[in-house]
């Protein structure tokens, strides 16, 4: 009984940490430009598909195509910002969000033109198939490697925003755009960089989740949608919030499907419960768990 609990907990943390990585990109964009990028799920899916295309069709080794896909998505997201969003700087935020909805449809359309829109693919197995067990809890190699990559990336991003001057300047832009310009920060460049790093982390998340669940466009879209409650729960502009909320969400989902589904005549609770918890938490913490409160000095 106890080991079942821990099994669910561990798989919850695994899924949750990938959620966190996926949410990270969303937070990066919101943090610097206050734009809600509703097309983020599509970018995650694109990252996963590019990884597969590189390894499955071109024949590049999986590790390399994983990295390459991150680089490609980095530039892809950067050009999306440059082409569609750059000219909207200074326009009302709602128009910009509408543009990201349009972007979502366009990306959906493009993906449907490729084989990925209708056919399911799965990555070739490249890690040992046996499970790693300790104390009755088991985890697959794919999951383990996924969690490790996620941890490294989140650690890297946190370091980048805390310690590097460019990272700090990205936070500065989210704080006060005019003041940022006055010290010589190029605000458009920061926005481009935010999109690019968001693309990079989205591709990583896509690659990992694709390896774990297989490449089904609808699954990946659903995965992208789960990112929204996570970032709202964590506070839209907090990396730590994304991590904590991602893991909370993953664990809740696992417990829900492990304990509730099939009992009491319930089914599919994993899809619903996160939103219920989200609503309850927002009642008490409207800025999310770690969202920034406006500082007001009196």
């Amino acid at each position: 009984m106890m080991s079942y609990f821990f099994q669910l907990l561990v798989s919850g943390i695994v899924v949750g940490s990938i959620y966190a990585l996926a949410a990270l990109g969303f937070v990066l964009i919101y943090k610097s430009s206050k734009v809600l990028n509703l097309a983020h799920g599509q970018i995650i899916a694109a990252g996963a598909f590019i990884t597969y295309a590189l390894t499955g069709w071109v024949g590049i080794p999986i590790y390399l195509s994983f990295l390459l896909s991150m680089v490609i998505t980095f530039f892809l997201a950067m050009s999306v910002e440059k082409i569609f969003l750059r000219r909207l700087i200074g326009e009302p935020i709602i128009s910009i969000i509408m543009v990201t909805i349009g972007l979502m449809s366009i990306l959906d359309g493009i993906i449907f033109l490729t084989p990925f829109g209708s056919v399911n693919f799965s990555f070739p197995q490249f890690l040992p198939q046996e499970l790693i067990s300790f104390g009755g809890v088991s985890i697959s190699w794919t999951q383990l490697v996924g969690v490790i990559i996620t941890a490294i990336m989140i650690g890297g991003f946190s370091w980048f925003f805390k310690k590097s001057t460019v990272g700090i300047s990205m936070r500065a832009v989210s704080d006060d755009q005019f003041a940022s310009m006055s010290v010589g920060i190029s605000v458009p460049r920061v926005f481009g960089l935010a999109w690019a790093t968001a693309g990079l982390s989205a591709a990583a998340a896509g690659g990992i989740i694709g390896n774990i669940t297989g490449l089904n466009f609808e699954t990946l879209q659903a995965f992208g949608i789960t990112v929204f409650p996570i970032v709202i729960l964590g506070g839209l502009d907090s990396i730590l919030g994304a991590v904590v909320a991602g893991i909370i969400m993953g664990v809740i989902q696992q417990f829900a499907s492990g304990y509730l589904d099939g009992n009491f005549g319930l089914n599919g609770t994993a899809e619903v419960l996160p939103y219920i918890i989200l609503l309850i938490i927002l009642l008490f913490k409207p800025h999310g768990l770690f969202g920034i409160h406006e500082i007001e000095r009196v």
């Binding site: 200074g90 700090i168 500065a172 755009q177 310009m181 006055s182 010589g184 920060i185 000095r297």
Partner: protein
Amino acid sequence: MNKQNSENLLEVNNIEVVYNDIIQVLRGVSFNVAKGGIVALLGTNGAGKTTTLRAISGLLKPENGFIKDGYVKFEGIDITNVLGTQVVKLGAVMVPEGRRVFKHLTVDENIRVGSITRKDGSQAIRKDQKLMYDHFPRLARIINRLAGYCSGGEQQMIAIARALMASPTMLMLDEPSLGLAPLLVKEIFENIEAINKEMDTTILVVEQNAKIALQMSDYAYIMESGKIVLEGPSKELRDNPDVKEFYMGVTQGGGRKSFKEVKSYKRRKRWM
């Protein structure tokens, strides 16, 4: 128009600034800033002082404004309608009105951001950062505090230190005295003078507080309704009866101006 004799670092020639294509704010402003000097730009609310500074620092765009006519030259290079980033790289940095520190960044991070345009390596930057804390010992004690929670005086120091981290040749300050207690205003202006002397930074300061600005500057310009209406060495302007009456609230007799005579204001302020 200019009567300063030493070499000019900044040359503003007859600029006209228009917001939203129709609202003209500056109507031919010309002035010069001599290398190594402290120049004050005085005037009342809405005279166009802030717009002038923004025009120089390439920061009109967020407000939908641009320089329609005239030119701005910094170190002989034309910087008319050039992007703000470029102006900072050339060595002219502005401290915006109302301090505008990054509230959610620590004091240390605020100061570090100022070095974003520099390319001379982290060693030099770190050295300058230390220099800032020597200059503003008050900030050295609170490096890890969020800037949003610092006092007004501390925030002004952060904003100045942040601008200095770009190692500018010219520092432009937009109303550094705004909202500060008189004692703090004095401290800030002493800091500015020290920066001018020790770091050899040219200063252009925009102020409403004519008294303190004329005390510490070498040369001053007075603006009204988007034009320069009066200029001269600060020493002379301090004794100018018009300046005394209109900007320092002192009558010719030396007493305070009474509100009863406010009508004479309209009558006499012809030179605008």
